[in-house]
Symmetry: C2
Subunit: 157 residues, 2 copies
Amino acid sequence: MVTVMNKKSKDNPKLPLRMTRQRQVILDELRKVTSHPTADEIYNMVRRRLPGISLGTVYRNLEILSDNGMIQKLELSGSQRRYDGNPKLHYHVRCVRCERMDDLPLSTLPALESAIRKSCGYEVLGYRLEFIGLCPKCRKFPETRKERQDKNGTKRK
Amino acid sequence: MVTVMNKKSKDNPKLPLRMTRQRQVILDELRKVTSHPTADEIYNMVRRRLPGISLGTVYRNLEILSDNGMIQKLELSGSQRRYDGNPKLHYHVRCVRCERMDDLPLSTLPALESAIRKSCGYEVLGYRLEFIGLCPKCRKFPETRKERQDKNGTKRK
DNA sequence: TTTGGTGCAAATTCTTTGCATCTCT
DNA sequence: AGAGATGCAAAGAATTTGCACCAAA
Protein backbone atom coordinates (compact mmCIF):
# COMPACT_ATOMS: atom_id res chain seq x y z
CA MET A 1 0.00 0.00 0.00
CA VAL A 2 1.27 3.39 -0.92
CA THR A 3 0.93 6.41 1.27
CA VAL A 4 0.58 9.77 -0.34
CA MET A 5 2.21 12.19 2.01
CA ASN A 6 1.01 15.62 2.94
CA LYS A 7 1.98 17.78 5.85
CA LYS A 8 -1.23 19.25 7.16
CA SER A 9 -3.47 16.26 6.92
CA LYS A 10 -0.88 14.19 8.66
CA ASP A 11 -0.57 16.54 11.61
CA ASN A 12 -4.25 17.30 11.73
CA PRO A 13 -6.34 14.82 9.80
CA LYS A 14 -9.54 16.80 9.79
CA LEU A 15 -8.85 20.49 9.86
CA PRO A 16 -11.86 22.47 8.68
CA LEU A 17 -10.37 24.19 5.59
CA ARG A 18 -12.13 27.35 4.73
CA MET A 19 -13.62 27.32 1.27
CA THR A 20 -13.16 30.66 -0.37
CA ARG A 21 -14.44 31.39 -3.83
CA GLN A 22 -10.90 31.28 -5.23
CA ARG A 23 -10.08 27.96 -3.64
CA GLN A 24 -13.35 26.47 -4.83
CA VAL A 25 -12.85 27.56 -8.41
CA ILE A 26 -9.27 26.28 -8.49
CA LEU A 27 -10.33 22.89 -7.20
CA ASP A 28 -13.25 22.85 -9.56
CA GLU A 29 -11.25 23.67 -12.65
CA LEU A 30 -8.57 21.19 -11.77
CA ARG A 31 -11.14 18.43 -11.36
CA LYS A 32 -12.68 19.30 -14.67
CA VAL A 33 -9.63 18.40 -16.71
CA THR A 34 -7.80 15.14 -17.17
CA SER A 35 -4.63 16.88 -18.13
CA HIS A 36 -2.11 17.69 -15.44
CA PRO A 37 -1.75 21.42 -15.71
CA THR A 38 1.02 23.60 -14.35
CA ALA A 39 0.26 26.37 -11.86
CA ASP A 40 0.42 28.82 -14.67
CA GLU A 41 -2.06 26.91 -16.80
CA ILE A 42 -4.40 26.65 -13.84
CA TYR A 43 -4.04 30.37 -13.30
CA ASN A 44 -5.23 30.98 -16.84
CA MET A 45 -8.11 28.54 -16.51
CA VAL A 46 -9.28 30.11 -13.28
CA ARG A 47 -8.86 33.63 -14.54
CA ARG A 48 -11.68 33.16 -17.00
CA ARG A 49 -14.04 32.84 -14.03
CA LEU A 50 -12.24 35.07 -11.56
CA PRO A 51 -10.42 37.72 -13.57
CA GLY A 52 -8.98 39.37 -10.49
CA ILE A 53 -7.23 36.34 -9.01
CA SER A 54 -3.48 36.48 -8.56
CA LEU A 55 -0.90 33.88 -9.41
CA GLY A 56 0.28 33.92 -5.82
CA THR A 57 -3.15 32.89 -4.64
CA VAL A 58 -3.17 30.04 -7.11
CA TYR A 59 0.15 28.78 -5.81
CA ARG A 60 -0.94 29.15 -2.21
CA ASN A 61 -4.14 27.24 -2.81
CA LEU A 62 -2.56 24.47 -4.79
CA GLU A 63 -0.21 23.99 -1.88
CA ILE A 64 -3.03 23.92 0.64
CA LEU A 65 -5.25 21.65 -1.41
CA SER A 66 -2.47 19.15 -1.86
CA ASP A 67 -1.49 19.37 1.80
CA ASN A 68 -5.06 18.33 2.49
CA GLY A 69 -5.00 15.46 0.09
CA MET A 70 -7.62 16.93 -2.19
CA ILE A 71 -5.31 17.13 -5.17
CA GLN A 72 -1.85 15.86 -6.00
CA LYS A 73 1.25 17.87 -6.55
CA LEU A 74 3.27 15.93 -9.07
CA GLU A 75 6.96 16.36 -8.50
CA LEU A 76 8.24 14.42 -11.40
CA SER A 77 10.41 15.42 -14.32
CA GLY A 78 10.17 18.70 -16.10
CA SER A 79 11.02 22.13 -14.89
CA GLN A 80 7.50 23.07 -13.98
CA ARG A 81 5.49 21.36 -11.32
CA ARG A 82 2.17 19.85 -12.34
CA TYR A 83 -1.02 19.27 -10.44
CA ASP A 84 -3.55 16.48 -10.61
CA GLY A 85 -7.19 16.80 -9.59
CA ASN A 86 -7.25 13.13 -8.74
CA PRO A 87 -5.66 12.65 -5.31
CA LYS A 88 -5.46 8.87 -5.57
CA LEU A 89 -2.09 7.39 -6.41
CA HIS A 90 -1.82 6.31 -9.98
CA TYR A 91 0.85 6.17 -12.62
CA HIS A 92 1.54 8.66 -15.34
CA VAL A 93 2.97 8.68 -18.82
CA ARG A 94 4.74 11.71 -20.12
CA CYS A 95 5.61 12.45 -23.69
CA VAL A 96 9.27 13.29 -24.15
CA ARG A 97 8.51 15.60 -27.01
CA CYS A 98 5.52 17.72 -26.11
CA GLU A 99 5.60 17.03 -22.35
CA ARG A 100 1.95 16.05 -22.40
CA MET A 101 1.12 13.89 -19.41
CA ASP A 102 -1.58 11.25 -19.14
CA ASP A 103 -2.84 8.82 -16.57
CA LEU A 104 -1.98 5.20 -16.94
CA PRO A 105 -4.88 2.78 -16.50
CA LEU A 106 -2.90 0.30 -14.54
CA SER A 107 -3.22 -0.89 -11.00
CA THR A 108 -0.33 -0.39 -8.63
CA LEU A 109 2.15 -3.14 -8.10
CA PRO A 110 2.29 -4.64 -4.63
CA ALA A 111 5.00 -7.09 -5.64
CA LEU A 112 7.25 -4.24 -6.53
CA GLU A 113 6.79 -2.60 -3.19
CA SER A 114 7.53 -5.56 -1.04
CA ALA A 115 10.67 -6.21 -3.05
CA ILE A 116 11.87 -2.74 -2.27
CA ARG A 117 11.07 -2.74 1.36
CA LYS A 118 13.72 -5.27 2.24
CA SER A 119 16.48 -4.14 -0.09
CA CYS A 120 17.65 -1.03 1.74
CA GLY A 121 17.84 0.57 5.13
CA TYR A 122 15.12 3.00 4.26
CA GLU A 123 11.67 2.95 5.65
CA VAL A 124 9.80 3.08 2.41
CA LEU A 125 6.73 5.26 2.48
CA GLY A 126 5.83 5.23 -1.15
CA TYR A 127 7.20 5.81 -4.58
CA ARG A 128 6.88 7.92 -7.63
CA LEU A 129 6.75 6.32 -10.99
CA GLU A 130 6.50 8.01 -14.31
CA PHE A 131 6.78 6.52 -17.73
CA ILE A 132 8.32 8.40 -20.57
CA GLY A 133 7.71 7.97 -24.23
CA LEU A 134 5.96 9.44 -27.19
CA CYS A 135 2.27 10.20 -27.18
CA PRO A 136 0.22 9.11 -30.18
CA LYS A 137 0.28 12.58 -31.66
CA CYS A 138 4.01 13.03 -31.34
CA ARG A 139 4.68 9.69 -32.93
CA LYS A 140 3.28 11.27 -36.06
CA PHE A 141 4.50 14.84 -35.69
CA PRO A 142 8.08 14.85 -34.52
CA GLU A 143 8.24 18.29 -33.03
CA THR A 144 9.25 19.23 -29.54
CA ARG A 145 7.26 21.44 -27.27
CA LYS A 146 9.92 24.11 -27.47
CA GLU A 147 9.96 23.98 -31.25
CA ARG A 148 6.23 24.43 -31.32
CA GLN A 149 6.38 27.30 -28.86
CA ASP A 150 9.12 29.01 -30.81
CA LYS A 151 7.13 28.69 -33.99
CA ASN A 152 3.78 29.83 -32.58
CA GLY A 153 5.04 32.26 -30.01
CA THR A 154 2.95 30.30 -27.51
CA LYS A 155 4.56 31.43 -24.28
CA ARG A 156 3.23 32.89 -21.09
CA LYS A 157 2.25 36.59 -21.16
CA MET B 1 15.01 -2.99 -21.92
CA VAL B 2 15.01 0.62 -20.99
CA THR B 3 16.47 3.34 -23.13
CA VAL B 4 18.00 6.32 -21.45
CA MET B 5 17.37 9.24 -23.71
CA ASN B 6 19.70 12.03 -24.60
CA LYS B 7 19.53 14.53 -27.42
CA LYS B 8 23.02 14.72 -28.81
CA SER B 9 23.96 11.09 -28.73
CA LYS B 10 20.72 10.28 -30.46
CA ASP B 11 21.31 12.70 -33.30
CA ASN B 12 24.99 11.99 -33.50
CA PRO B 13 25.99 8.81 -31.73
CA LYS B 14 29.71 9.43 -31.73
CA LEU B 15 30.49 13.08 -31.62
CA PRO B 16 34.05 13.68 -30.43
CA LEU B 17 33.38 15.75 -27.27
CA ARG B 18 36.26 17.94 -26.37
CA MET B 19 37.64 17.19 -22.93
CA THR B 20 38.50 20.37 -21.15
CA ARG B 21 40.03 20.43 -17.73
CA GLN B 22 36.77 21.66 -16.24
CA ARG B 23 34.69 18.99 -17.90
CA GLN B 24 37.13 16.30 -16.86
CA VAL B 25 37.14 17.35 -13.24
CA ILE B 26 33.36 17.58 -13.10
CA LEU B 27 33.00 14.09 -14.50
CA ASP B 28 35.70 12.84 -12.24
CA GLU B 29 34.22 14.26 -9.06
CA LEU B 30 30.77 13.06 -9.95
CA ARG B 31 32.05 9.55 -10.51
CA LYS B 32 33.84 9.61 -7.22
CA VAL B 33 30.72 9.91 -5.11
CA THR B 34 27.76 7.62 -4.71
CA SER B 35 25.54 10.44 -3.62
CA HIS B 36 23.52 12.25 -6.22
CA PRO B 37 24.64 15.82 -5.82
CA THR B 38 22.93 18.95 -7.05
CA ALA B 39 24.67 21.30 -9.47
CA ASP B 40 25.53 23.50 -6.59
CA GLU B 41 27.08 20.69 -4.58
CA ILE B 42 29.09 19.64 -7.60
CA TYR B 43 30.23 23.22 -8.02
CA ASN B 44 31.58 23.17 -4.50
CA MET B 45 33.27 19.82 -4.95
CA VAL B 46 34.93 20.92 -8.17
CA ARG B 47 35.94 24.28 -6.81
CA ARG B 48 38.37 22.64 -4.44
CA ARG B 49 40.38 21.53 -7.47
CA LEU B 50 39.56 24.38 -9.81
CA PRO B 51 38.97 27.45 -7.69
CA GLY B 52 38.25 29.64 -10.69
CA ILE B 53 35.44 27.60 -12.20
CA SER B 54 32.05 29.22 -12.55
CA LEU B 55 28.66 27.81 -11.72
CA GLY B 56 27.53 28.46 -15.27
CA THR B 57 30.27 26.19 -16.57
CA VAL B 58 29.19 23.49 -14.19
CA TYR B 59 25.64 23.68 -15.45
CA ARG B 60 26.75 23.73 -19.07
CA ASN B 61 28.95 20.69 -18.62
CA LEU B 62 26.43 18.67 -16.67
CA GLU B 63 24.04 19.26 -19.53
CA ILE B 64 26.59 18.20 -22.13
CA LEU B 65 27.75 15.17 -20.20
CA SER B 66 24.22 13.93 -19.74
CA ASP B 67 23.37 14.64 -23.37
CA ASN B 68 26.23 12.33 -24.17
CA GLY B 69 25.09 9.62 -21.86
CA MET B 70 28.11 9.88 -19.62
CA ILE B 71 26.11 10.85 -16.57
CA GLN B 72 22.45 11.00 -15.67
CA LYS B 73 20.36 14.03 -15.00
CA LEU B 74 17.78 12.96 -12.47
CA GLU B 75 14.58 14.84 -12.97
CA LEU B 76 12.56 13.51 -10.11
CA SER B 77 11.03 15.18 -7.13
CA GLY B 78 12.57 18.08 -5.30
CA SER B 79 13.14 21.60 -6.44
CA GLN B 80 16.76 21.06 -7.34
CA ARG B 81 17.89 18.77 -10.08
CA ARG B 82 20.36 16.03 -9.16
CA TYR B 83 23.06 14.31 -11.16
CA ASP B 84 24.30 10.75 -11.11
CA GLY B 85 27.76 9.68 -12.24
CA ASN B 86 26.38 6.30 -13.16
CA PRO B 87 24.68 6.59 -16.54
CA LYS B 88 23.03 3.17 -16.37
CA LEU B 89 19.38 3.08 -15.45
CA HIS B 90 18.79 2.10 -11.90
CA TYR B 91 16.33 2.95 -9.18
CA HIS B 92 16.68 5.44 -6.40
CA VAL B 93 15.44 5.96 -2.89
CA ARG B 94 15.00 9.44 -1.54
CA CYS B 95 14.55 10.41 2.06
CA VAL B 96 11.51 12.61 2.58
CA ARG B 97 13.17 14.39 5.45
CA CYS B 98 16.74 15.20 4.52
CA GLU B 99 16.34 14.64 0.77
CA ARG B 100 19.30 12.33 0.71
CA MET B 101 19.16 10.04 -2.29
CA ASP B 102 20.61 6.56 -2.63
CA ASP B 103 20.79 3.88 -5.27
CA LEU B 104 18.60 0.87 -4.93
CA PRO B 105 20.35 -2.47 -5.44
CA LEU B 106 17.53 -3.97 -7.42
CA SER B 107 17.34 -5.13 -10.97
CA THR B 108 14.86 -3.51 -13.30
CA LEU B 109 11.53 -5.09 -13.84
CA PRO B 110 10.83 -6.36 -17.33
CA ALA B 111 7.39 -7.56 -16.36
CA LEU B 112 6.44 -4.06 -15.40
CA GLU B 113 7.54 -2.67 -18.68
CA SER B 114 5.72 -5.06 -20.93
CA ALA B 115 2.58 -4.46 -18.92
CA ILE B 116 2.85 -0.77 -19.64
CA ARG B 117 3.62 -1.03 -23.28
CA LYS B 118 0.18 -2.31 -24.20
CA SER B 119 -1.92 -0.23 -21.85
CA CYS B 120 -1.75 3.11 -23.62
CA GLY B 121 -1.25 4.70 -26.98
CA TYR B 122 2.20 5.86 -26.05
CA GLU B 123 5.38 4.46 -27.40
CA VAL B 124 7.10 3.78 -24.13
CA LEU B 125 10.78 4.60 -24.17
CA GLY B 126 11.54 4.19 -20.53
CA TYR B 127 10.47 5.27 -17.11
CA ARG B 128 11.55 7.05 -14.02
CA LEU B 129 11.04 5.46 -10.70
CA GLU B 130 11.89 6.88 -7.35
CA PHE B 131 11.07 5.56 -3.95
CA ILE B 132 10.42 7.83 -1.07
CA GLY B 133 10.87 7.13 2.57
CA LEU B 134 13.10 7.73 5.53
CA CYS B 135 16.79 7.02 5.45
CA PRO B 136 18.29 5.16 8.40
CA LYS B 137 19.62 8.36 9.92
CA CYS B 138 16.36 10.25 9.69
CA ARG B 139 14.46 7.41 11.24
CA LYS B 140 16.38 8.27 14.37
CA PHE B 141 16.66 12.03 14.07
CA PRO B 142 13.37 13.43 12.97
CA GLU B 143 14.50 16.70 11.53
CA THR B 144 13.90 18.00 8.04
CA ARG B 145 16.59 19.33 5.80
CA LYS B 146 15.11 22.78 6.01
CA GLU B 147 15.01 22.66 9.79
CA ARG B 148 18.65 21.69 9.87
CA GLN B 149 19.60 24.41 7.44
CA ASP B 150 17.69 27.02 9.38
CA LYS B 151 19.40 25.96 12.56
CA ASN B 152 22.93 25.76 11.17
CA GLY B 153 22.69 28.52 8.60
CA THR B 154 23.88 25.90 6.11
CA LYS B 155 22.83 27.55 2.88
CA ARG B 156 24.64 28.35 -0.32
CA LYS B 157 26.94 31.40 -0.27
C1' DT C 1 43.71 28.15 -36.66
C1' DT C 2 39.25 27.62 -35.57
C1' DT C 3 35.52 25.75 -33.13
C1' DG C 4 33.95 25.30 -29.07
C1' DG C 5 34.55 26.35 -23.97
C1' DT C 6 35.08 29.59 -20.19
C1' DG C 7 34.19 33.29 -16.61
C1' DC C 8 31.36 36.78 -15.47
C1' DA C 9 27.20 38.97 -14.88
C1' DA C 10 22.81 39.82 -16.22
C1' DA C 11 18.51 37.77 -17.55
C1' DT C 12 14.85 34.18 -17.20
C1' DT C 13 11.69 31.28 -15.17
C1' DC C 14 9.16 29.39 -11.55
C1' DT C 15 7.80 29.85 -6.90
C1' DT C 16 7.43 32.02 -2.42
C1' DT C 17 6.56 35.88 0.76
C1' DG C 18 5.59 40.49 3.28
C1' DC C 19 2.13 43.46 3.97
C1' DA C 20 -2.06 46.00 4.15
C1' DT C 21 -6.69 44.88 3.35
C1' DC C 22 -10.62 41.99 2.97
C1' DT C 23 -13.78 37.87 3.92
C1' DC C 24 -15.39 33.65 5.44
C1' DT C 25 -17.45 31.31 9.48
C1' DA D 1 -14.83 39.57 15.73
C1' DG D 2 -10.96 37.44 14.25
C1' DA D 3 -8.32 33.79 12.04
C1' DG D 4 -7.14 33.09 7.84
C1' DA D 5 -7.13 34.55 2.60
C1' DT D 6 -6.28 37.78 -0.91
C1' DG D 7 -3.88 40.97 -4.37
C1' DC D 8 0.06 43.11 -5.32
C1' DA D 9 4.68 43.56 -5.84
C1' DA D 10 9.01 42.42 -4.52
C1' DA D 11 12.16 38.80 -3.21
C1' DG D 12 14.18 34.16 -3.80
C1' DA D 13 16.06 30.21 -5.84
C1' DA D 14 17.57 27.54 -9.67
C1' DT D 15 19.00 27.66 -14.17
C1' DT D 16 20.18 29.74 -18.63
C1' DT D 17 22.42 32.96 -21.70
C1' DG D 18 25.16 36.92 -24.08
C1' DC D 19 29.56 38.30 -24.71
C1' DA D 20 34.46 39.00 -24.92
C1' DC D 21 38.35 36.28 -24.15
C1' DC D 22 40.78 31.65 -24.03
C1' DA D 23 42.20 26.86 -25.18
C1' DA D 24 41.90 22.15 -26.97
C1' DA D 25 42.16 19.64 -31.30
